[in-house]
């Protein structure tokens, strides 16, 4: 097991990601943040909190998207997935959407997320923010716009992200 980001590094990385978002979306006038259920939401919660803190703006639209019904492997595993909640209490029509997920691996989750998103309206643009980019393991032509840390991994390895809200510690590790 190898630590990719410890508590301090994770904090610095999140701060940087938040600042990069502000750099590109100064006032967040037409920009909305959408975390992908279930694990991307821990990250998007943090990012949304940081953005509020830094910009002093309380009204950055923030939603959560469940992609279960849009997966391309609905009937391939042994278990059918039980969905999490989707909460998008605003229109995404003509908005710049920032999709947020913790780990980008094959790109299939993001493909599903884009399909799910489009069923809620036609956004002006969609960007992708991830904490960990497992480069070279993509199965679809999908690349992130904002990256916390890029890592080279092989398929048998696992990246695990711990959040203090549920795991009592902030850490990202690579498990062999």
């Amino acid at each position: 097991m190898k630590t990719l980001l410890d508590t301090k590094q994770l904090d610095i990385t999140l701060q940087r990601l938040a600042h990069q978002l502000i750099e590109n979306h100064t006032q967040f006038k037409d920009t909305v943040l959408i975390g992908i259920q279930p694990r991307g939401v821990w990250l998007s919660d943090r990012i949304a909190g940081l953005l509020k803190g830094i910009t002093g703006q309380q009204s950055i639209p923030y939603g959560k998207l469940d992609i279960t019904f849009y997966r391309d492997d609905v009937h391939q595993g042994n278990e059918i997935h039980v969905p999490s909640q989707t909460e998008i209490p605003f229109s995404i029509e003509d908005k710049n959407v920032i999709l947020v997920d913790d780990v980008l691996h094959t790109g299939r989750t993001i493909r599903s997320a884009m399909d799910a998103l489009i069923d809620y309206g036609r956004p002006k643009s969609v960007e992708l923010l991830v904490l960990i980019d497992r480069r070279f393991s993509r199965e679809l032509p999908i690349q992130p716009d904002y990256v916390g840390r890029t890592v080279d991994t092989i398929i048998t390895q696992k990246v695990k992200v711990y959040w203090k809200e549920k795991d009592l510690k902030d850490e990202v590790v690579l498990i062999d």
Partner: protein
């Protein structure tokens, strides 16, 4: 975790956790149904046959819409005008439909137990859309889901089921479902329409409808099923309406907001007067709306189960 069963034959076979899983999934689908695009691609690879040996409007449309909202392919079959009238057996009929690569069967049949019989003979997942006077599981699920929407957790809540308990598959499925969810259940109606020993299912029995209304928080009013009564069990519909029918005045006399439900079709002026059925307390149309979400959840959660075996 998905469901513990391969088929939805009756509520009796479900675990309480299964019911909660169905509700959680239906919450999602209810949200999908409120979007502009009321459709998800989850079941693009699934074909469902709706096989109805008995009349139905609501249930059948509800199932078909649920399947279409999930992007499944749908074939409909009704006994009238089919080879059933030429003497084809149930298993032959279903096997012929399955031979055309159908993955799931939704069946309504007038014989109690027909879906269980079928489950022993075919591989596809079966959803019971009502069998004789036995069970109607998706109706009970959507009833409980609608109650949960109004009352929150049903544990300890008092639900009365009023009317023709004897011939009602909705009543039996409701009793199983509400018991599993921890609600208290009372059945009420004329003694001739309440089966003997029904207390054995863990329900209270009341023959005075006014008392039953006073006791409960929800009244699920059932239809008088004249088509299933082979000998008269009360003198006239007028007499039934007079003694056991529910009207707005009775609801107004209560010191509380009673929730009124009915699985449809309503015999207006018999078990439920028009002013009660159309009153603010009535959530009859919410039931219909929730029916699609519940059926989407059941179909989705059971899909893909046939490859497992």
């Amino acid at each position: 975790m998905s469901l513990s069963v391969k088929h939805l034959l009756g509520i009796k076979e479900l675990q309480t956790e299964d019911i909660h899983t169905i509700f959680r999934t239906a919450d999602n689908f209810k949200q999908v149904l409120q979007r502009q695009i009321k459709k998800v691609p989850a079941l693009r690879d699934t074909t469902v046959a709706n096989i109805f040996f008995e009349n139905s409007t609501r249930t059948r449309i509800s199932f078909e819409l649920a399947q279409k909202r999930l992007s499944a392919d749908v074939v409909n079959f009704s006994a009238s005008g089919s080879s059933v009238s030429k003497g084809e057996t149930l298993i032959d009929t279903v096997n012929n439909i399955l031979a055309m690569k159908v993955d799931m069967v939704v069946m309504r049949h007038s014989a109690s137990g027909a879906p269980w019989f079928l489950a022993n003979h075919i591989d596809a997942s079966i959803i019971n859309a009502g069998d004789g006077i036995n069970e109607h599981p998706t109706q009970a699920l959507l009833d409980a889901f609608s109650m949960r929407e109004k009352l929150g957790d049903l544990k300890g809540k008092r639900i009365t089921i009023i009317g023709d308990i004897m011939h009602s598959r909705v009543a039996l499925s409701n009793i199983y479902c509400l018991n599993k969810l921890g609600a208290e259940v009372m059945v009420a109606g004329p003694p001739t329409l309440i089966p003997k020993h029904i207390e054995g299912l863990g329900v209270k029995v009341e023959y005075d409808v006014k008392k039953a209304l006073q006791w409960g928080e929800v009244a699920n009013v059932l239809r008088i099923q004249l088509e299933r009564q082979h000998k008269p069990l009360f003198s006239t519909l007028r007499e039934y309406a007079l003694y056991y029918g529910i009207n707005k005045q009775m609801l107004d006399d209560l010191q509380k907001e009673m929730i009124i439900m009915h699985p449809g079709p309503i015999n207006r002026g018999v078990e439920l007067s028009s002013d009660a059925a159309d009153s603010k307390q009535s959530i009859i149309l919410d039931q219909v709306e929730n029916g699609v979400a519940i059926r989407m959840a059941v179909i989705y959660l059971l899909s893909g189960k046939s490859e497992l075996e």
